[in-house]
């Protein structure tokens, strides 16, 4: 054991780099497939995702229905494709909301410090004290169930992550010598923010966008699993699992495929985020 530990702890950095590139490649590929499926749903879906067929209820996978049919005889594959669209809309919506509220708040707090910083920091603490999925469920319930409201609920519940990140990075950037130099030659705050702070924030925010997409897609699935997202009968992955849960014994394919899709897409965004981070992190 001694020899093994001694030799390998200080292994060269290169394999890590390889792993980062693999993550980037694999994650990127999964995300691209997801985007194509979501945007191309009208083209690829062979069946109407809402059309029931009472003669083909709960059919196992076959040539006509490659992934089987559900309890109303609807084609699972077509519903998965259209469900991808719901996940994409919720994910993009949530990330846009979280980013456009969180990043400016964080910059403001990190740049101005003082009481603004105290208020923003305590506010993010308060929001972070609430488990994200619980906050999203509560918000979605009070807002009323719809895809847009689900996106808003998930977005608001992930605001503190962006705010905290932007604040920490802004403080770090403002301590740099080049910022000090810029201030000493009389560059004003707005220009300083645009020219120095924002470009340096872009990389960590990009990583966070990818990781938050993963969280948002899992959360949307959770919300639609509880009926708090897109109203039925419109397809979404979580709602498909709600149906599958009632047919665990007789029709396991109803639970397997939607879950696998959620899992795969979330892995994709997580890998992509990790890959980008390793690539951009100067320490690696």
């Amino acid at each position: 054991m001694t020899d093994a530990t001694a030799g390998q702890v200080r292994a060269p950095r290169r394999p890590r780099r390889l792993q980062a590139d693999l993550s980037l490649l694999l994650g990127g590929a999964i995300v691209v497939v997801f985007l194509v499926a979501a945007l191309g749903a009208p083209l690829f879906a062979a069946h109407d995702p809402l059309a029931s067929d009472w003669l083909a209820v709960l059919q196992p996978p076959s040539d006509v229905h490659p992934l089987g049919t559900d309890d109303l005889g609807r084609d699972v594959f077509s519903r998965l494709l259209w469900g991808a669209q719901a996940s994409l809309i919720a994910g993009v919506g949530a990330v846009l909301i979280a980013m456009s509220i969180g990043v400016p708040l964080g910059i403001l707090a990190g740049f101005s410090r003082g009481w603004v910083d105290i208020v923003v920091s305590r506010l993010t603490d308060a929001l972070l004290a609430c488990p994200q999925i619980m906050l999203a469920i509560a918000l979605a319930m009070f807002l009323g169930g719809s895809l847009l409201n689900a996106a808003v609920a998930i977005g608001v519940s992930t605001v503190p992550v962006f705010a905290r990140l932007a604040r920490a990075r802004t403080i770090q950037i403002c301590a740099e010598v080049y910022v000090e130099a810029a201030v000493s030659v009389g560059i004003r705050a707005p220009r300083l923010l645009v020219v120095h702070v924002l470009p340096n924030l872009a990389a960590p925010v990009l990583v966070q966008v990818s990781l938050t997409m993963a969280v948002a897609i899992i959360s949307e699935a959770g919300l639609s699993f509880l009926g708090l997202s897109r109203p039925l009968p419109a397809p979404s992955w979580g709602a498909m699992l709600t149906v599958g849960k009632d047919f665990i014994e007789s029709a396991p394919w109803l639970s397997v495929w939607p879950g696998l899709c959620i899992c795969l897409v979330v892995v994709g965004f997580n890998l992509l985020g990790d890959g980008i981070r390793s690539r951009l992190d100067p320490r690696r």
Binding site: V9, R122, A126, A129, C130, S255, G259
Partner: protein
């Protein structure tokens, strides 16, 4: 001085938290009293609710009214279950705490041990494989994992019950077996988080000078790993574990729903289905307060475990 500052900031956080939770009910479309009344829409009930919560008065006054009630332990009334919310939470919370504790134990055992192996085998095939498992653990939706496990373990192999909760005072063995699958599912995410933290903390420590010294002295490898490295590497892991426990309490919502475990998570889901707003509001508030207290305890544990923090060597 630092303690006072810490307490002040916690108080501010709690204040903001209570305002946020109160603000939830401002999101409700339409007349709050009518919605809170639920199915019973008689003018008397609505008038009584308006009177009780002061809903005809300005919002800031309503908040003061509400927070006053909360501070005296009155978290409101469940409109559907006809019980005080405080009572409901008190009966459900122990179940969730047991579930979260079991999940955390499982996560620590799995996460820390795999994390150590990954660190010792850093940058080998084993490490990459562990990394992939970790990503999977972070990505799998726990309600789906729950459904899969029910499908395999409970339906296919019939090893464990698919659902149904038994109180530990009734039969401890059955209680543990009824919570085994749910705690495995709930702990997966935390196990992955702890694994990553343990791995990077161990790597950092193993590269430290005092480990090299120990090695140069000819100390046996196992001694180095467990006595020196692990002890130091566990400091950040303990903090993460305490914080994750708070997340487990609230993150158990979907797991409890899938396995029909009657904890506060199931209470939230039932309240969502029943449109029982007061219950959801109260559960969110209580869970968050729990989390903030845990946060404080985690700081305390950090203080105990790391003498550098105790002597003010590090912020």
């Amino acid at each position: 001085m630092r303690l006072l500052q810490r307490i002040a900031s916690i108080l501010v956080t709690l204040l903001l938290l209570s305002i946020l939770v109160f603000a939830l009910q401002q999101l409700l479309p339409g007349d709050t009293a009518v919605i809170l009344a639920g199915e019973d829409r008689s003018p008397e009930t609505i008038a009584a609710i308006t009177e009780k919560y002061g809903l005809d008065r300005p919002v800031p006054i309503q908040y003061l009214h509400w927070i006053g009630n909360v501070l005296t332990g009155d978290l409101g009334q469940s409109m559907r279950l006809n019980q005080s919310v405080a009572n409901l939470i008190l009966t459900k919370l122990p179940v969730t705490i047991q579930l979260a504790t079991m999940a955390l134990l499982f996560a620590i055992v799995i996460g820390v041990s795999i994390g150590i192996v990954a660190a010792l085998k850093a940058n080998t095939l084993v490490d990459h494989f562990v990394g992939l498992i970790g990503t999977l653990g972070l990505s799998v939706p726990n309600f789906w994992l729950g459904i899969l496990l029910i499908m395999l373990v409970a339906v296919q192999w019939q090893w464990l019950p698919a659902s149904g909760y038994v109180s530990p005072f009734e039969d401890l063995g059955q209680n543990l077996s009824s919570l085994l699958l749910p705690s495995l599912v709930l702990g997966t995410h935390v196990a992955a988080v702890l694994m990553r933290h343990t791995r990077s903390a161990m790597l950092e420590v193993l590269n430290a000078d005092y480990i090299r010294t120990a090695r140069a002295k000819g100390m046996p490898g196992r001694h180095i790993v467990f006595r020196h490295a692990l002890r130091n590497a566990l400091v950040p892991v303990v903090t993460v574990g305490a914080l994750e426990f708070g997340q487990l309490l609230g993150g158990s919502v979907l797991t409890e729903f899938v396995f029909t475990v009657p904890g506060i998570g199931k209470l939230i889901v039932d309240s969502v289905f029943n449109r029982d707003f007061a219950v959801v509001q109260a559960v969110v508030l209580v869970t968050c307060m729990f989390y903030i207290v845990l946060n404080l305890l985690a700081d305390g544990a950090h203080l105990l475990l790391d003498p550098r923090v105790r002597h003010g060597g590090r912020p």
